[in-house]
Structures are given as C-alpha cells and as structure tokens.
C-alpha cells in the first residue's frame, strides 16, 4: 500500500503542528501570529458591537432620535471607526515589515529554485561553493538564513508557516527572504502559489537543528556518495539525476546523493519507505500527476528493487 505523506502529516498535525502559523517556531512567525491574534480579538469586538446595535435596533425601546444624532452615528460608526480601525491594522502590519539591508550579512544562505513540482536547495558555503540537495531543508536554530528564490518555469511561492511569511519565486527574478528559526524541531514548508496539477504535492520537510546537529548534517550532505550502481546508470536515471561521486551530469531532476537520508519521496508526497519508492519508480505520474519523471514499469522488477535498495542505502 502506498502511504501518502500528506495523509500521515494530517494525522500528525493534530499533535505536532508542523505546518501551523499559529504555533510559531521562528521570529517572523512569532510576530505574525501576534498580528493574527490581534486581528481576531478586534474582529470579535467589532462583531459584538454590530450584533449589539442590531439587536438594540430590533428589540430596543423605540424612541425618536434627532437628525443630529443620526448624523453623528453615521459619521462615527460608518466613517471614523472603519478609517481609524483600518489605519491601526495598516500601521501594525507595516511595523512588521522586515527592514534588513544587504550590509547585515545573514548567518547562512540557501539558494532555492522551484520547479514543477519540487525544490532544488543549494547551501552556500563560506568559500562561495554550494552543496546541492533537494526537497528537504535543514537549518540551524537561532541563525538568520537568507533564501535566494528563483523559479525556472512558473510562479511558485515558498512558505514555511511555522517560521514566517511567504515569498514568491518568479521566473527571471531573484527574491530574497530571511527567516530565523527559534525552536528546534521538524516543520513543513509548502508551495503557496498554484503552479499546476501537482501543486499540492510540492512541499518539503524543514528540520531545525541545534548548531552541532546542523554542522554534522551539512558535513554529511557535502560528502559524495560512498557507493555506485551499474543499474542506476544503465537504466537511464543518470540522465536526469546527479549522485555526486557517481554520476554528475544529470541536472533535470532532484539530486539523489543522500536520498536515503530524506524522510520523503517526491517533495513530501510519499513517506520514504522501500515500498513507496518502488511504487514511485514504477509510475510517478499516478502518484503525482504531471511530474517530469517518466515511469519505469518497463524495467524488470528485480532491477527496480535493486535500484530502490541502492537509493535507500545512500545515507
């Protein structure tokens, strides 16, 4: 049976809140959830006033009001109140705008390239070189990370609700977003701009580590793969996928160098199990309509099993 990660995360969401803007685990999300609660409280107050006035108008004592009262009521409730109320919300929202400049260097820079329907992540090292990976983001806690956002095909949007606001990835443009996680844990990021039939299957786990945990993750991610596979190249996978140290020409699909360490398959579409991987290799389109990977049902089953074992072993 194919166990969709989406279903699993829905079940888990009840207790872990991995994709909740109201359970902030980052600086921006903290401020934004403050705004959300403020607006919610304000809405309750406005609702209570409107309902109160309505009930009074229907059931209250019928007493003739002066024209002056009517003027003031309309001016106060219809003009002054909404104008001031909206101005307060506008100013509150504006005060949350990020105001960093390029002179303040981020602690970490990650290049994010969105493609239908997955994410290319490249970690910039201090020497300027990049470590390529895909579909799973790892961040150090309490460090400001800058995301350099681009897209190759259509407009996508990069959103990790637990960490902060979202930002579009627009073909031909580079957008910058900075996020600072404040709590270690595992969260979920999503594409937040409809981008095609598998838009909902374009998500990614976000793992926030303490400093040591992040350093050891990055060191392991940087290392090339320890073993090669004849079948991987012979079956045509290498035309699209890179496995550093083994096959480095394929640039069409996600980097698979440490695929065995990822928790999901196909940008958080399936939980990463052998069974799910076999299903993915046989027919990705059935799992993820419109995905740019062809099905390999034509390969002998033993070959697919061997490739799956090989990929699962890429720790």
């Amino acid at each position: 049976m194919v166990l969709p990660a989406v279903g699993a995360s829905l079940l888990l969401a009840g207790c872990t809140f991995e994709q909740s803007a109201l359970h902030p685990a980052g600086r921006d999300a903290q401020e934004l959830s403050g705004l959300t609660w403020f607006m919610f409280a304000g809405a309750v107050v406005v609702w209570a006033i409107v309902m109160g006035v309505t009930v009074y108008a229907v059931l209250g004592r019928k007493r003739r009001r002066t024209e002056r009262f009517a003027d003031l009521f309309i001016l106060g409730g219809g003009v002054a109140f909404p104008t001031v109320g909206l101005a307060i919300l506008l100013v509150y929202g504006l005060s949350l705008l990020p105001n960093w400049t390029s002179a303040q260097a981020p602690g970490l820079r990650v290049h994010v390239q969105a493609e239908q329907y997955w994410w290319r992540f490249a970690y910039e090292l201090p020497d300027g070189s990049r470590v390529e990976t895909a579909n799973e983001l790892h961040l150090p806690n309490d460090v400001t990370a800058e995301f350099v956002l681009t897209s190759t095909d259509v407009i996508h949007s990069f959103w990790i609700p637990a960490l902060g606001g979202k930002m579009d990835l627009i073909p031909g443009r580079t957008n910058l977003l900075r996020l600072t996680p404040t709590k270690a844990g595992t969260y979920r990021g999503v594409c937040a701009e409809f981008c095609g039939p598998s838009h909902t299957f374009m998500a990614f786990p976000v793992v926030v580590h303490d400093a040591d945990g992040y350093a050891s993750w990055l060191a392991a991610e940087q290392a090339p793969a320890t073993s090669g596979s004849e079948l991987f190249a012979a079956s045509g996978c290498a035309a699209c996928h890179t496995i550093r140290g083994v096959a480095e020409t394929g640039k069409v699909g996600p980097d698979l160098t440490h695929f065995g360490r990822r928790s999901t398959i196909g940008a958080a579409t399936l939980v990463n199990t052998r069974e799910n991987l076999l299903a993915w290799l046989a027919d990705p389109q059935r799992i993820k309509p419109g995905a740019a990977m062809p099905g390999f049902a034509s390969l002998p089953e033993t070959d697919r099993a061997a490739i799956a074992d090989y990929l699962m072993g890429l720790k």
Binding site: E67, T101, L176
Partner: protein, 134 residues
Amino acid sequence: MTGQIEQEVKRETGTGTDLWRVIVSPIVWAVHFLFCYVYGAVYCAKAGRDASLAGPTVIIIGATVVALVLIGLSTLHLWKVRGRSLTDDDFEYEHNTPEERHRFLSHVALMLCVLSAVAVLYVAIPMLYLTSCR
C-alpha cells in the same frame, strides 16, 4: 444675513456643482496613487535594492500635502452648495429640478472627497515605514 440669502438664491437657481466637481477628488486620488507608485518604482529600479528612501519619503509627503489641499479646496466649495445635514431631513429629493440635482451631486461629491482624502492618506502611510528599496 445677506450672504445667507445670496446662497439660498444660488441654490434655487440651481448652480453649484457639475460632473467635473464630482470626479475631481477621485482624480486627485488616482494621480497621487500613480505618482507615488510609479515614482517609487522608477527610483528604486535605478538606485538598487539597498538605496535609502529618505529622499522619496520627503517628496511623497509633499505630494500628499498637495493632494490633500486640492481635495480640501473641493470639499470647501461643495460644503457651501450641499446644505446642512448628512442625513438630509431638510430636503426631499423628489422633484426633478436643477436645485435637487445640484444638491444631490454635491452630496455625492462631498462623500467622494472624504473617501479620496482617506485613500490618499492610506497610500502615503506605508512610505513612513519603508526605509530602503528592498
């Protein structure tokens, strides 16, 4: 006293407002809006992401003052034509006379003035919070 009579006479003869008066304040709003956004976009496109917005802030505040003065002048004029009350109990719009048309139009135009003034302010407020082109 004579001033009041004059005004009353002016109303009866039905001068006071025309279509142009009705749309002038929304036009000021639109021009102010376009100016702020087009000017800001051009400035930042030329100056780059990290450029400070101190200069444009002053210019946009200036444009906002100009827009508010224009809307204020229009409001002042309309106030004289329109009459006394917002809910207008003193006047029934039942006859198709020039006076009623003019007073109705001035009433609408006055509302548009208020709306436009608020809108102009809302367009300008973000400028006070932005510090760089980023």
